[in-house]
Every structure is written in C-alpha cells, then in structure tokens.
C-alpha cells in the first residue's frame, strides 16, 4: 500500500470519527438545553425538521431544536464526505474509472438531498 493511499485512508477514517462525534455532541447540547432551559426559550412542541430560514433564526436564538437539527444533519452528511474523500483518493492514485464511479455515487446522494430544498 503506497504512502499516499495510507494517508487518505486515515483522512477518511478521521472524517468519519469527527463527523459522528460532533453530531453526538451537538445532539447532547440540544437535549441538555431542552431539558434545563426549555421553559425560558420558545421551543415548538412539534419537533419536525426545520426549514433553512427557521433553522438559522432558531440558531441565533440558541433554540435547542436548532442544535438537535444541526447534530442530525452533520450525522447525515458524514457519509457524503466519506464518498468525497474516496473520490479524491482515487484521483490521487490516477484511477479515473473509480473517480467516475465515486462521482456517480456522490451525484445520486446529492439528488436525494434536493427535495429538502424544495
């Protein structure tokens, strides 16, 4: 295994760890705020995913739901970064067939995200 590939495997591994740990931390912060500070903040009872405008205004207000939503989004986006890093790894190895395949997977994932913006 060449050194470059080894380094990129470690990057992918670190991205997975950082992504899942930060998602867990954000969710813990959101839950704690909800448990201990919710009575003083305006928390909507129905906790559906927030629209982008609502998400940013809640984040400004330090509303617990915005932290929970951010934690969940970070967790959902972590595998996306995994695919992006794999594509980069194939590119550095000049294995263009697999760059093409990884980009295909990335496009499919991006298509699945589009409905969130509609």
């Amino acid at each position: 295994m060449n050194e470059k590939k080894e380094k990129i495997d470690i990057y992918v591994s670190n991205i997975l760890l950082i992504g899942s740990y930060s998602a867990a931390v954000l969710s813990v912060v959101g839950l704690f705020m909800l448990l201990f500070f919710a009575p003083t903040t305006s928390v909507q009872l129905e906790s559906k995913p927030l629209s982008f405008s609502l998400f940013f205004s809640y984040l400004k207000e330090k509303n617990p739901l915005s932290f929970l939503n951010l934690g969940i989004l970070v967790m959902m986006l972590t595998p996306l970064f995994r695919v992006m890093t794999a594509a980069l790894s194939f590119f550095l190895e000049k294995d263009y067939k697999y760059v093409f395949i990884a980009c295909g997977v990335l496009i499919i994932l991006l298509v699945s995200i589009i409905p969130i913006f509609i």
Binding site: A24, L31, S47, V105
Partner: protein
Amino acid sequence: MVIGGLVAGLFGSLLGLGGGVLIIPLLTLVFGVPMKEAIGTSLICVIATSSGAASLYVRKHFADIRLAMTLELATTIGAIVGGLVAGIIKPEILTILFSVLLFYIALSMICKRPVEDPAKGGEENLEGNSSAQGEYQITNFPFGMGASFFAGNISGLLGVGGGVIKVPAMYLMMGVPLRIAVATSNFMIGVTATAGAFVYYARGEVDLLVSGATMIGVFLGALVGSRILHLIKMEHLKKAFIIVLLYLSVEMLFKGLHLHFLF
C-alpha cells in the same frame, strides 16, 4: 429513549447488526412512535453505528473500497426508491414487512456459521487482508448489483442497514472472502442509509427529539459494545437475541394486523 437507544446500540455492535432491527420495535411498540418516523430515526442511527465501525475498517484497510463504491451505485438508488415507496404505502404494511424481515434475520442467525468480525484480527491478519484484496476474483457482478439494489431498497423501505443481504451476496455469489465482505458491507451501510434518510427527512418524517435522543444512545451503546466485546460469551447472547427477534417479529406482525399480543 436514550437508554433504549443505548441498549439497541450495545446489542447491535455486539452482534454485528446496525441496530435498526431493535430500534424500530423499541420506538413503535414501547414509545408509540409512528412507523415511518421510526424508520427515519432508525436510518440516522444506522449512520451513527456504521460510521464508527467503518472508521476502524478504513484505517485498517479491511474494506474493499473499490467494490463498495461500485455496489453503492446500486444500493443508493435502491435506498431512494425504497424511501419513496415507503411514502406511498400504508404503515401497517411496512410493519408486517418489518416483521417478516425480523423473522428472516432470526432464521439466518440460526442457520449460519459464526461470522468473524474483521476488527478482531491481529496485525498479521491485517496485512494478509490488505494483500488478499488483490487475490480474489469477483464473479457474478450483475447479480451483485441486483442484490445491492435490493439491499438498498430494503434499507430505504424498512430502516435497516441491509448487511443481512449484502454480506451473503458478496460472500456466496460474488467470491468475496467473508472478512472482506463484512467490512465492505459495513463501509457501505452508512452511505446507503444516508440516501434513504434524506428522503424521510425531506418528508418531515424525522422527529428531531426522538432522533437526537435515540442517536446519542445508539452512539454510546456502540462505543461501549466495541469495548466489552471480548468479555461477552457470544453463543448465549446470540441464542437470547434470536428469541427476542422471534418475539418482536410476532409482536410487530400483530401490530400490523391491529391485534394485541403482549403490548
């Protein structure tokens, strides 16, 4: 809910399952969460458990990333289709299908020989696997793509990882060594679950409170599980888990049919 997620994550990591098979019955039967929201939550928990395991497999070069990427073309499309289909069919039908899946997993656990966890291998095995990736010849590729599409479909439809389909397909039909099949499947599960999870998220079928609480529990449970794995007698745990799965299968079937078993 955090404690329930912790138990699901713990057993999931000890038995090599994504946790979805326990999370959905827990959320629907114990907490009364609607089936589709339980599936959305389960997919997020599957991402959480698989990210930890995949991180280890990537670092140790166990997973065949090229094979994983190629099969992911099929699993991600399958997951999106599964997620969309779940949106138009009745929750009762999803509950009954989930009951059938639980029964199938219990049966496959009774029949199959123990699958060695790739993460348990020593350094010498690690090197062996690394070189072994170039030694096997992948056969039946169209079948593998079909099975991957089906696995993705099941994942998006019922909120599980789909490893129960991918691992046998790679090992039995495509000529991939078992160790590499398990690690490759684990690498793929998070990406597949993400494709399905976005469909549920866009439909508003991800409850932030339920998902956040369960995800934390599952994440902690998986961390603890990976550390106490060597202390547990797997044979006893596996037998107990098969009984739990069979019971949950009947309970979910009754729920789908609007009948009462125990809950």
